[in-house]
């Protein structure tokens, strides 16, 4: 399997479909006896539809319903409390901080990891010895279970541990901190670990995007006397923009729901200094067996992702997707 066919699996047909959607339909479709067609369609479509509706859409409706109750997870659902779960959440400073931390991690992921990934991808987008190997190495953290990454970094970052020793051996002992116990630093530490896990994915994704840019365009610009900077600025980056926007979507949706690495590094602590919406939900809802409250937080988290995705689709991805998702929800 060559690289190009694999990329085609993701990119080619998508483009092909866009053009097909504009013109007349390619395939007339099967036109058999009506009953037979209906039966076939049902057999093919119903299982996936039932699975999807039952396990993706129905649960959020159930959660929305439970969020109006005070419920410990057992027994009948009879303690209706209206919107009190929601009002309690928004009056709890820990939850407000959790929202702030989630948004800070999300913004930092885009603003810091984005330019970093683009710069590294640009610099690595040239022939050099060991490029394929390096790409594989850089990608490796992305395929590790984040929970296991979290355990690894908690070992590296423990007081007097490997990270501290390395700093000391470089004469930077003064920089040593209580990486996971200092309330002023912990969120930054979490962000560094997140970057370690996810930056490689961005780099490899952007490298794939760079390789899809036709060489002729750059060569033509160079023949016309464009400087390297002008070629990058006017040709490469604009043509890379769709890939950057896709990376942005994946990164933001991922950051908004971030749970595993934060939970394992800090459990949201110390003193809620690194809690996110998801860890707050687990700590205050699940561990405190207040499932009505946990449902309310889940609904709020859902709303965050939903609103973001709508805006992103409408304003950033619009040119790339022709509103594949906006069409879905209005």
């Amino acid at each position: 399997m060559s690289r190009s066919t694999a990329i085609a699996a993701g990119l080619g047909p998508a483009a092909a479909e866009q053009s097909a959607a504009a013109g007349p339909r390619r395939a007339p479709g099967w036109r058999g006896p009506k009953l037979r067609k209906k039966t076939e369609l049902t057999i093919l479509l119903a299982p996936a539809l039932i699975l999807f509706v039952g396990f993706v859409l129905v649960p959020i409706v159930i959660a929305a319903y439970y969020s109006f109750y005070s419920w410990s997870g057992y027994g009948p659902l009879n303690d209706y409390i209206g919107l009190r779960n929601y009002s309690y959440a928004f009056q709890d400073p820990a939850f407000i901080h959790a929202i702030e931390h989630t948004l800070m991690l999300t913004v930092a992921s885009v603003v810091i990891q984005g330019p970093l990934a683009i710069s590294i991808a640009l610099l690595l987008n040239r022939k050099f010895v060991g490029r394929g190997f390096l790409r594989t190495v850089v990608f490796a953290p992305y395929v590790l279970p984040p929970a296991v990454t979290g355990v690894m970094w908690s070992l590296i970052l423990q007081p007097g541990g490997f990270a501290d020793q390395v700093l000391k051996s470089f004469g930077l002992g003064g920089l040593v901190q209580l990486w996971l116990a200092n309330v002023h630093i912990v969120l930054g530490t979490v962000f560094v670990v997140l970057t370690w896990q996810y930056l490689g994915f961005g780099i490899v994704l952007l490298l794939a995007g760079l390789q899809n840019i036709p060489k002729e365009l750059k060569e033509a610009a160079e023949i016309d006397g464009a400087s390297p900077w002008q070629v990058t600025r006017r040709i490469t980056l604009p043509l890379l923009a769709p890939t950057v926007r896709i990376w942005g979507f994946i990164t933001i949706i991922g950051s908004l729901q971030i749970f595993d690495i934060v939970w394992i590094l800090t459990e949201g602590g110390p003193a809620n200094a690194s809690g996110t919406i998801s860890t707050y939900m687990y700590l205050e809802g699940v561990q405190s067996t207040d499932f009505g409250f946990a449902s309310a937080i889940a609904v709020i988290l859902f709303a965050f992702c939903f609103v973001f995705a709508l805006f992103y689709q409408r304003f950033a991805l619009r040119r790339d997707t022709r509103g594949a998702i906006t069409r879905a929800v209005g």
Binding site: A6, A15, A48, L124, F128, A140, V143, L155, F249
Partner: protein, 294 residues
């Protein structure tokens, strides 16, 4: 910023490079330097965990950043000869396999329906699936817990695998449907002329042609399931049902004094993912790129 300005353009030897002679002397060294830094930052933490797994706890405490002295294999052998590690591994494999199989079978059936048939509501059904992208599993985990409790599927591996398959469907549809639609219609006519029935055409011609897309979809489903943490954490309660990520953190909290043991366990937990998935890199990237594009 200087590095970025230097990046575009063809290799040395062209007239372009002659016009910017500085490039040849700055870009390649910068590239190699960056390559080495990126390599080091990625590999050193991994190596640290693997190597420390060969040390004793006393050795680790006396010098946290040193080489093993002496090298001991006991941490690894005691993990490899104990039941929990293999149970976690088996559970992860079971759940990921079931989730992947469900995703592939149901996903390709639905993609066939939405690509090879003309019917009212086809685009509506497609958009319903696509809308699922707005709703990642991390957000759905708690609602799923409530549903699984009602269904009596708590503490059951299938209670993890089935929802994972459901959440993998949007990406599956987005990758598969355009791929199936892009296959030329003449093939279908030729198959009919040769007397092939519809399902035979699907099974023997269409799906084999869609193999690259199916591999991408299957690998994405498998990796996503393998790495999932929140859903198994909520659903699985007996430790003999735990997945590998769940088991790793449990091991850490249970044996918090045994650093060397935790290192070895963590290293072993990373091995399957590193060994298999790194080679799946191109498919994962292609799938991710296709995800939002469709």
């Amino acid at each position: 910023m200087a590095a970025i300005t230097q990046t575009a353009g063809p290799g040395p030897g062209s007239g372009f490079a002659d016009r910017y002679p500085l490039r040849r002397w700055t870009v390649m060294p910068a590239t190699y330097l960056l390559a080495i830094v990126a390599f080091g930052l990625t590999v050193v933490p991994l190596l640290f965990v693997v190597v420390d797994g060969f040390r004793t706890n006393g050795d680790i405490n006396s010098s946290p950043a040193g080489w093993p002295h002496p090298w001991v294999a006991g941490n690894y052998t005691s993990i490899l000869t104990s039941a929990p590690f293999w149970e976690f591994l088996g559970n992860s494999a079971l759940i990921a396999t079931v989730a992947t199989a469900l995703t592939l079978v149901l996903g390709s059936m639905a993609a066939l329906a939405l690509s090879q048939y003309e019917f009212r509501g086809r685009e509506f059904f497609y958009t319903v699936f696509v809308a699922g992208l707005l709703f990642p599993l991390g957000v759905g985990a708690l609602p799923l817990y409530l549903l699984l409790q009602r269904l009596g599927l708590l503490d059951n591996q299938f209670g993890v695998a089935i929802p994972e398959a459901a959440f993998a469907l949007p990406l599956t549809m987005i990758i598969l449907r355009p791929f199936l639609r892009a296959i030329p219609g003449e093939l279908q006519d030729a198959a009919m002329v040769d007397g092939a029935g519809r399902f035979r055409f699907f099974l023997q011609i269409l799906l084999p042609l869609a193999k690259p897309a199916l591999i991408t979809v299957g690998l994405l489903a498998f990796v996503t399931s393998w790495n999932q943490y929140l859903l198994p954490l909520l659903v699985l309660q007996t430790s003999s049902h735990f997945t590998l990520p769940l088991g790793t953190y449990t091991f850490q909290t249970q044996y918090s004094q045994n650093d060397a043991g935790i290192m070895a366990f963590t290293a072993m937990a990373m091995l399957p993912a590193l060994g298999v998935f790194v080679f799946a890199q191109r498919y994962i990237v292609a799938g991710a790129a296709g995800a939002v594009k469709g």
